[in-house]
Subunit: 457 residues, 2 copies
């Protein structure tokens, strides 16, 4: 596939117009050109990306699409704070992003909308010749994953999946150690998304997002749409934060591929319990049957013989944890977020002095701090989720500017998103194994891993 | 089933004969009777049990069966150290335990032999009217699990599975907290056996068990037979240490039951790597193909909706860890063996003051220290594996003396052992779900959990 010319073909951007954005560090490779970027979805996640983009002199944020006027106004405030001109608003209902895509001369769009819109909007962006950067979630169907892959290939427009946890500082340091061979040959990894989202799935319906049991049309922000997934679906509905970093470490879609999975779900108790605690057992919400098991576990197999366990757990009171584990022939790292050992516990045989004891990983994480973090530490300061959101946006912008493939691309998006419908099917069938499609159609055998291989992006 | 009279019917023991054993603490309920116990298998594990039994005034250790004269002599030394008379030896080959069972007037036998002998020897014990206490492992086939259950039922002779980790101090404290409701309704548990056994599977062939790559007929102790399982089998070949404590917490076979599992195995690398490191790539052992994947993961489902993940990992350099995790609607405990938080990290919502942060569990483990440990702390001192071996032997002896059902019985043995052949079948079929038999034949619905319900045993 020749994608080298896609930018020139698809770009409608003109040369950069300076409007005095904040100055970035000299580590950036400016190319006398600004990218014109639109934002589809200006909720809290979109606003986060707008903040990061607003600090870049190589980007113009020209337009927003969102039917939610409150969120649009919040997004415009961010531009104002950064001395940016206001973005043009497309707010006539949920489909007005189509008008944006047809009307605006854009290089790229960021898609940070409710999950079910991600793939349809990415498809529409490609049809408009605009490169989509798509937020994380899981797919509704395998078919829509295929559709996105095929359209991206057919139209020669790349897609990036904006998986921010891949850029978390400790994870990039571990990635660095993996690629330098400290763990030997990788055998097994674990990860997941274990985050008490009860206060996200339910609130008081106001922008203060106070404690409450409102959701759907009565709720605020994500509770408007996210909660319904817990009512309708039983599967790993948010697989990428756990899977993405692991996939990068073991070269999924680039020399390796995921072959099969099996999922099981515990009983569903947490959301009902939360509702009853706040609203009492007689409130209407207490009658809702939630389909999503509190803890969903997925076992995955890969072509090269590594195994993976993913966990999804968002319905219960619990400390936040992604639960990473990376085990090779020569060592193990276990994340232990908020434990006494900062960023977990580690064992590297060659550094163990013959003692099979866990060590504090702090020194190793410092020694193997990824070149990206070393170079861009100051640029990342203040960006969302401990700075990692800077890197995912940086990779999106820099890949486009440099006309190189995205490190996390449409095959990764399809593969990671596909975990959701496959896990739903597995659970519905009592845990039966589901084969994972090869969205690269055999190209995984020769594709090269480019994630995290430089200090640039 | 009426088992109340089984002891009187089957016991051939006479009233106690005092031969000045060490005096036990007054916490014991003596009943003016000693149990006559034989030991089948006097290797390192059998010797451990002999040490514990030798301290009890309610037990006579009358006979040993083992073809290994070195191990027999070591076992006799333990009796001598405790001023016990020597045990009669049955050492004419691996089948001489049959002669022991036919010739000796015994109440019970401890079976601590290589894994493949466990069930055949337990069957023979039942046929001889002797109660077997059987060490842990996994079964060869589902059929032999059924055979043991049926013979135990038919002959009205109970069987205990000697699962010592069920009695580990932190685990019993967590069990206590679970049963007192601190975790709310249990949703998900994890456990396993993650223990670098390379130095057990291979040694220099001498009783010093120095570093080497000998095994089988050339090896010492467990390497004589245990290593072959890693060559021939790919499954969770040692499931009980992880599963037993979880099964007790969620009432498996007593109000709940395991329904299905799915297993996957990583590539097999660790044992070959170890051999090459010691013996070089041209040594004969370097040609062996090991079937056992380094990390075997098994997902289990239960009738009451809890899910379980088990891990088996014995081929790699790593810190020891059973990796327990217990999660309910109201809290989580994660074991973190040798981590900075002694015995892991805990979160109990009701004690969290609204902060979703891990806490050091030390105070809670002390507060909820199980009555068994509180009462028998001094008795357990010096017993194997941090004292827990005392409790499993104590439960075996006291249950027989008091003529009450074993807390870990033949149904538990069959269910836990069955994980091994079912996981092998699942892996061989690419991870396909296997149904777990109901060895209680429906009795799980009414049976009551008696494990850990008193301070006696």
């Amino acid at each position: 596939m020749n994608r080298r010319n896609f930018i020139e073909k698809s770009s409608k951007a003109t040369l950069g117009i300076a409007f005095a954005p904040e100055v970035l560090s000299s580590s950036f490779n400016f190319q006398n050109k600004t990218l014109k970027i639109g934002i589809i979805g200006t909720g809290l996640r979109g606003q986060n990306h707008i903040s990061i983009l607003s600090k870049r002199s190589d980007v113009e944020i020209t337009c927003f699409a969102d039917p939610d006027k409150y969120m649009l106004s919040q997004a415009q405030k961010i531009l104002t704070q950064h001395n940016r001109p206001p973005a043009k608003e497309y707010k006539k209902g949920v489909d007005d992003y189509m008008t944006l895509l047809k009307s605006e001369p854009l290089d790229a769009v960021i898609i940070a909308t409710p999950w079910d819109f991600h793939i349809p909007q990415a498809l529409a962006a490609i049809d408009a010749g605009v490169i989509p950067g798509v937020e994380v979630c899981g797919a509704r169907t395998i078919e829509e994953c295929w559709e996105l892959v095929r359209k991206s290939e057919d139209k020669n427009i790349p897609v990036m999946v904006l998986e921010n946890v891949c850029y978390r500082r400790d994870i990039l340091a571990i990635h660095n150690m993996v690629k330098k061979g400290l763990f030997g040959e990788i055998l097994h990894c674990q990860g997941g998304y274990m985050h008490d989202l009860r206060g996200v799935k339910f609130n008081d319906g106001t922008p203060k997002s106070g404690k409450g049991i409102k959701f759907g049309s009565e709720g605020f922000s994500e509770s408007k749409w996210r909660t319904q997934h817990s009512i309708d679906r039983n599967g790993d509905i948010y697989p990428t934060h756990g899977l993405g970093p692991i996939a990068n470490m073991i070269d999924i879609n680039r020399g390796n591929r995921l072959t099969a999975l099996s999922s099981i779900a515990s009983k569903a108790r947490g959301l009902h319990k939360y509702i009853v605690e706040i609203g009492g057992k007689d409130c209407p919400q207490a009658q809702i049957k939630f389909k999503l098991g509190d803890i969903v576990t997925t076992q995955l197999q890969s072509a090269n013989g590594e195994t993976i366990v993913l966990t999804h757990n968002t319905n219960n009171s619990r400390p936040y944890n992604i639960g990473f584990k990376v085990q090779g022939t020569d060592g193990i790292w276990q994340e232990n977020w908020y434990g006494k050992f900062k960023d977990g516990q580690i064992f590297i045989e060659s550094l163990s002095d013959g003692k099979e004891m866990w060590q504090n990983p702090e020194n190793l994480l410092t020694e193997y701090d990824h070149p990206l973090w070393k170079k861009h530490y100051n640029d990342a300061a203040g960006a969302g989720h401990g700075g990692m959101d800077f890197f995912v946006i940086n990779a999106f912008v820099e890949s486009i500017k440099r006309k190189v493939p995205f490190p996390l691309d449409v095959y990764d998006l399809a593969t990671w998103y596909a975990i959701t419908p496959l896990s739903e099917k597995s659970i519905a069938e009592g845990g039966q194994v589901q084969l994972i499609p090869d969205f690269t159609n055999g190209k995984w055998q020769t594709r090269k891993n480019t994630f995290g291989q430089s200090d640039e992006f």
